[in-house]
């Protein structure tokens, strides 16, 4: 044996926690994430934004390994800058959705440990949400949640928003029937609930609302323990 110590248990990954939610309506999209960053039982900081504006009508919320998330955001921002120079316009949200999937799959065998929800408005101005796994499988849905508190939040969203079966023919729109204000209130409630039981969710929730008027931000305080 060359060196018995060769394989120490160093890991290139960490889980910094956090929860992301996105809800699409007929003419709006709500994207939200908490601002806590943790490692193990430590809280590293209570004020770290997991939300990244990629285009005028396209917002990404990501949790998982912070260093990978930041690298992913940098790649997408750089690719979008090139896109703007080549096409003299903003990338559409479905376009960014495909780009994110390809970017994740490109690192299929050394993945970005990032759990993403992409939200915004599509070319018709309708709300859209794309939900991903770490290696790029994705789907357009009406609402979604990812990250450490997703298992607490998803059933509540299913109960409140229930999407039509994707098997229906002709296909039905997945957008939720809620008004913008109702969707924002629902997001505040699900985060307050997740913060009760998930130690990796808390401190504050950042809510980004995308509609025809532009982008608006709201913050609500969560449990800090």
């Amino acid at each position: 044996m060359a060196n018995p110590k060769q394989h120490a248990n160093w890991s290139p990954y960490d889980n910094n926690g956090g929860t992301c939610v996105a809800i699409a309506g007929t003419d709006y999209c709500v994207i939200a994430a908490d601002t806590r960053m943790s490692t193990g039982y430590n809280i590293l900081t209570r004020d770290y934004s997991k939300i990244c504006k990629l285009a005028d009508k396209c917002v990404l919320a990501s949790s998982g390994f912070q260093a990978d998330v930041k690298a992913l955001q940098k790649v997408l921002s750089a690719r979008h800058l090139i896109y703007q120079h080549q096409h003299n316009k903003q990338m559409s949200c479905p376009g960014m959705g495909q780009l994110l999937s390809n970017t994740l799959y490109y690192k299929r065998f050394f993945p970005y440990y990032a759990f993403n929800v992409l939200g915004g408005l599509d070319a018709e101005g309708k709300g859209c949400v794309f939900t991903y796994d770490a290696v790029g499988s994705y789907e357009r849905v009406g609402y979604s949640t990812q990250g450490s508190g997703s298992s607490l939040i998803m059933p509540v969203l299913d109960n409140q928003l229930k999407s039509p079966s994707p098997l229906l023919l002709p296909a039905k729109d997945a957008v939720t029937p809620l008004s913008e204000a109702e969707a924002v209130d629902l997001v505040k409630d699900v985060f307050a609930s997740a913060a009760e039981r998930d130690i990796y969710t808390g401190d504050r929730v950042e809510i980004v609302i995308v509609n025809a008027a532009g982008i608006r931000r709201e913050y609500v305080e969560l449990r800090k323990d």
Binding site: K5, S11, P12, D14, M37, N42, L44, F65, Q66, K70
Partner: protein, 240 residues
């Protein structure tokens, strides 16, 4: 051609990577205060559990506007200092009156640390970067896998467990220099009591818009007579 085995690396020799550290420094604590940033660290460096070196400076000035504090592998820290020296010198050679601020240096360190983890060849450190440029205070940290953030107060290693709860309770915006030093000394004292690799010789460094100040290393006044130090299990439930 012959070569003495072990002296000359053969092309198929296993590559050398830091998969575990040798000589390590313990916590660094940093805070923002009224005029800038204060960093504190002890001057110890351990070889495993042996206290190998007792006066290693683990806080250094980087360029005109930044301070860097390091815990973890000391040799990797020294390599990082060489990278930063080159960075600052190459930037200086433009001679355009511009200089790299703490934000730029932190960003550079973030990319270097993350890049090395991507190559499975990490720099085994947790770094604290503080600085002031054009009246703007900056305090951030990055670790060996590239996780980074900014905050009003930061700490590495044991400092995250023992110092940050104190800082969260007692840190205030625009503290005076005297109050900030007292707060750091309180953190360092708790670390000294409970972190076995901490030593009672610490250094504080300051950075403001006027520049950096390094204070000579000194000792904290300790009191080991607490009854819970003498008999820690007294009053504890259980049969021991």
């Amino acid at each position: 051609m012959t070569s003495v085995q072990g002296l000359v690396a053969s092309p198929d020799a296993d590559s050398q990577r830091t998969l575990y550290p040798y000589v390590t420094g313990t916590s660094v604590v940093g805070v923002k205060y009224k005029d800038g940033i204060l960093l504190a660290a002890d001057t110890g460096a351990s070889y495993g559990s042996t206290l190998r070196y007792k006066s290693v400076e683990r806080i250094k000035a980087i360029g005109k506007h930044s301070l860097l504090g390091a815990s973890g592998e000391i040799s990797d820290f020294q390599e990082i200092l060489r990278y930063l020296d080159e960075l600052i010198i190459y930037d200086d050679m433009w001679d355009d009156g511009n200089s790299l601020g703490p934000k730029e240096v932190h960003n550079y360190l973030n990319r270097v640390m993350y890049n090395r983890r991507n190559k499975f060849n990490p720099l085994w450190n947790s770094l604290v970067l503080g600085g002031v440029k054009n009246g703007e205070k900056y305090l951030g940290t990055v670790n060996m896998i590239g996780v980074h953030y900014e905050d009003n107060h930061v700490a590495t290693g044991f400092g995250n467990h023992l110092a940050r709860p104190i800082l969260r309770d007692e840190w205030k915006e625009d503290m005076s220099f005297e109050d900030a030093v007292k707060l750091l000394e309180k953190c360092m004292l708790v670390l000294l009591y409970r972190d076995r690799s901490a030593i009672n010789k610490m250094q504080i460094a300051k950075i403001t818009d006027e520049g950096t100040t390094f204070y000579p290393a000194y000792s904290l006044k300790t009191f080991w007579g607490f009854s819970s130090f003498a008999n820690p299990t007294k009053g504890a439930e259980g049969s021991w």
